[in-house]
C-alpha cells in the first residue's frame, strides 16, 4: 500500500521544534538531482518516522524519527538548506 503523501506544511511544527525557526519557507537543494525547492513544497510521508522526499526526483532529503523526547534526524539527501528570517 502506498503511504499517504503530504507536503512540508504538514511537518511545520516538528521542523520548527528541531530547527527553532520557520523551515517551510527555507530553500533546500536536493543532493540527488540538485533541484531547489521550498521545504513547504517537498513531499512528506508519515509512518513510524517522517520522510521528506524531493518532489522532482523522489530522493529522500530528510528523515526524522521521534522516540519520546529524542529526535533523530538524517540529512544526507539535503545538499544545502537556506534559512532566511
Amino acid at each position: 500500500m502506498e503511504a499517504l503523501r503530504l507536503d512540508g506544511n504538514a511537518v511545520a511544527g516538528l521542523l520548527r521544534e528541531v530547527f527553532a525557526a520557520e523551515v517551510t519557507t527555507a530553500i533546500g537543494t536536493c543532493d540527488g538531482c540538485g533541484a531547489v525547492e521550498a521545504v513547504g513544497a517537498v513531499h512528506v510521508y508519515m509512518a513510524a518516522g517522517t520522510v521528506l522526499r524531493c518532489p522532482h526526483c523522489d530522493a529522500v532529503v530528510m528523515k526524522l524519527v521521534r522516540d519520546g523526547e529524542r529526535i533523530w534526524i538524517d540529512l544526507r539527501g539535503l545538499r544545502t538548506l537556506e534559512l532566511a528570517p
Partner: protein, 229 residues
C-alpha cells in the same frame, strides 16, 4: 463553538500570549489522556489575525483520535495544548502583485477562508477567485459568510463545484474540478494560486494548472489526508 455543517465545527480558542498569525498558518493541537497517552494533529487556523482569539474549523473523522473530541466532546471552558502558529509557505501575502486563485476541496477551504477573511480585514481589493469543491450545498462550510463575501463587490468572486448533489435550480458547477473546469474558471493571468485539499485533489489541480500554462513556482499546495484525524 459553532456548527458549520453536520460534520464540521468551528471552535473559538482564547490563547493567552498569542502573538498573532498569518492567514494560512496552522497550529498543532495536543491532547493528553489521564494515563499520559498523547495524540497530536495539525489544524489550519480559520480566523484572520487579531487579538488573542484563534478559530479552528475541524471536520469529524469517525475513527479519528483528536477530531471526535474537538467536534463532539469539547465544551466551552476546556483547555488543551496548542503549538503554533506554524507554517510560512502556504500563507497569504497582502501584496501578491496580481490576481489570486484559491482552490479548495472539502475542509481544504479552511486556510483559504482565513485568507478571504484577512483580505477583507485589510480592505485588500486584489482580484481573488475562490473555487470551492464540496459534495453538496449542505457540505459547504462557511456558506452564509461566503455568500455575503462574494456579493461585497470588492474583487472577490466565488465559484462552487458541487460534486454529488446540487440543490434545485443550481446554476453553479455540478461536477468535479478537472482541467476542463479549471480552463473555464481560471483567469489567464495569475500572480499566485493556493490549492488545499486531499492529496489526490491538490495534486490533480496543481498538475492541471501547470498543463494550462501556469508557472509551477506560483502554485502553492497544501495536501491533507486521513492521517488519523
Amino acid at each position: 463553538m459553532r456548527p458549520e455543517t453536520d460534520r464540521v465545527k468551528t471552535l473559538g480558542l482564547e490563547v493567552p500570549g498569542w502573538t498573532g498569525h498569518r492567514a494560512g498558518q496552522h497550529v498543532d493541537v495536543r491532547l493528553t489522556a489521564d494515563d499520559g497517552y498523547q495524540a497530536q494533529r495539525s489544524y489550519s487556523i480559520a480566523s484572520s489575525a487579531g487579538g488573542s482569539r484563534v478559530e479552528l474549523t475541524v471536520e469529524l473523522i469517525d475513527d479519528g483520535e483528536v477530531s471526535p473530541y474537538l467536534t463532539e466532546e469539547a465544551r466551552v471552558g476546556d483547555r488543551f495544548e496548542l503549538r503554533g502558529p506554524v507554517g510560512g509557505y502556504f500563507v497569504w501575502d497582502p501584496n501578491p502583485g496580481g490576481p489570486v486563485l484559491l482552490v479548495g476541496a472539502g475542509s481544504g477551504v479552511v486556510p483559504l477562508m482565513a485568507m478571504v477573511r484577512q483580505r477583507a480585514a485589510d480592505g485588500d481589493e486584489v482580484r481573488t477567485r475562490l473555487l470551492y469543491s464540496a459534495r453538496s450545498w449542505e457540505d459547504v462550510i462557511y456558506r452564509d459568510e461566503l455568500e455575503r463575501a462574494g456579493q461585497r463587490g470588492d474583487g472577490l468572486e466565488i465559484v462552487y463545484a458541487l460534486t454529488r448533489e446540487q440543490p434545485p435550480g443550481w446554476t453553479g458547477y455540478g461536477r468535479r474540478v478537472d482541467r476542463e473546469l479549471l480552463a473555464e474558471v481560471v483567469p489567464d493571468e495569475l500572480a499566485l494560486t493556493f490549492v488545499c485539499g486531499p492529496t489526490p485533489f491538490a495534486e490533480a489541480v496543481a498538475e492541471a494548472l501547470v498543463g494550462l500554462g501556469h508557472e509551477p513556482s506560483r502554485i502553492k499546495t497544501e495536501r491533507f489526508g486521513p492521517t488519523g484525524g
